[in-house]
Symmetry: C2
Subunit: 321 residues, 2 copies
Amino acid sequence: MHSFEDLSLAFANRFNDRHFPTQPATLYDPAVYFLGLGGKRIRPVLCLMGNELFGTIEDDAWHLATAIELFHNFTLIHDDIMDKAPLRRGMQTVHDKYGTPTAILTGDVMMVVGYEYISRIQSPNIRKIMQLYNQTAVKVCEGQQLDMDFESRERVTMEEYLHMIELKTSVLLAASLQIGSILGGAGLNNQQTIYNLGRNLGLAFQIQDDYLDCYGDASKFGKQVGGDIISGKKTFLLIKTLEVASEAQLKEIKRLEQAPPAEKVAGMLAIFHACGVDAWVRELKEQYRAAAYQSLEDIAVLSKRKEPLKQLVDYLLTREY
Amino acid sequence: MHSFEDLSLAFANRFNDRHFPTQPATLYDPAVYFLGLGGKRIRPVLCLMGNELFGTIEDDAWHLATAIELFHNFTLIHDDIMDKAPLRRGMQTVHDKYGTPTAILTGDVMMVVGYEYISRIQSPNIRKIMQLYNQTAVKVCEGQQLDMDFESRERVTMEEYLHMIELKTSVLLAASLQIGSILGGAGLNNQQTIYNLGRNLGLAFQIQDDYLDCYGDASKFGKQVGGDIISGKKTFLLIKTLEVASEAQLKEIKRLEQAPPAEKVAGMLAIFHACGVDAWVRELKEQYRAAAYQSLEDIAVLSKRKEPLKQLVDYLLTREY
């Protein structure tokens, strides 16, 4: 068994290897640049952990972990274009640095190289794994489309928002765990349980992300606290508030839309609190966090084997920034 | 054995089935719209023919033909964004009709659905087929990147241009044939020969395309004759001319760059002819055409089995528009 730190480090070391040809450099330099920006590499580590929970980590798991991380990075490159984001991890995004056409192609080729890694696996379950991977990829695209659709809509229900977050964030975490578990020889029940763990983990993580954007420690959070409020982003907090606010509060929210940033943040935080939405969001996260730990509990293997995964869930769901 | 027309019709009928879920419609309607614009469906038919040359067409061939056509359409959607093209087959492009963010995602999801079809195949050669498919997909991306790179360059050598065309156009035709042949049980020699047939067919086709843009029958060609000259596109004709033209001719070409369209077309056609480039391009196409027929000849199966494929090559390389 390997600890979370061991697996993170081992994956990061392998992933630093070059995944692309050198020419044309106009296509591949941007890909290498973007992967060089780093990241927590959570998804591939989940794949490795899913494997090790039931067996010994094999070459197939490294290939699939690599494929998953390449897929995730492809989505980030394309999402940044769609969101017109100038920065990612404090550095220039690919389209900002190399232009949109190249960023589109760089993402495309990164996705294909992900599939190259899949084609290397020896598992007799290659078709089942590919189907899960493809279904997940489709859902991630759907999630991004819904996210864009919601931007231009006046109202989004909590159910719709949860569904979007599940598609955009949770399913890839869940599938990473399940793919690893398939390689480890997990039975169908365990596969389903570990998938649910990933799903609940993703939802709890995103709820926490929305919460910390408002209530995080500015010195640790790494981005502007209240950024979502300033940009008017529909978050768990705003959506719930719009559901429960009084007429007067809704009028005040309308007024704040045009207010200067500092006033807007202070005003919205006051309304969130008055509506009890801050406490409600903490409770919502707690529900999904508890559900994630329950799934972890329900996986039918020795408790000791689950330690690294528990460590990772702790790490992801107890951060304050 | 099925004729070219039979296979085209059979594929078109199957391909008209829906390949996508219905929701979110904002993501899938654009995909359905684009596939509805039609196309000659050459690549999937090549896959089916490659299969039938050596065996009986099986379900796997239909799945792979579908995957290939979806991949091809994904590249068209993304290429149209990069090329800022407003029209495709006389209709609005996806980004023009639905916006660039949606067009990026629609292409992405179309590529993934292509891989879904691959995951359905039962062939024991699934890994080999995926590797060929992925290598080809990577090359097509590289070709598009080179095509974009060449636009902003002053000079491109004939060798570079041929290499770009091979990547952007030929390799997918070649791989379509080879993938079909693998399903049919072709030996390695036959696989290589049929791949070469596709490669030469693609090059001859593209050379012909550049030629017809200048010398096609305007009433049949369906687009403006001389369009490449007007847009200053680097074609086989222009690249060769820049290699062989005299100082005076180069000066005249420079002057024509700023001339009104009609004068520019007439002037460049005169220079092409004076440099003997029109005849040279006809000869170049003839070389690749002959090489394609030679490959067809060299495939070690009964001549009668090759008839449909010969019919398709004839169709593609004898058009005058």
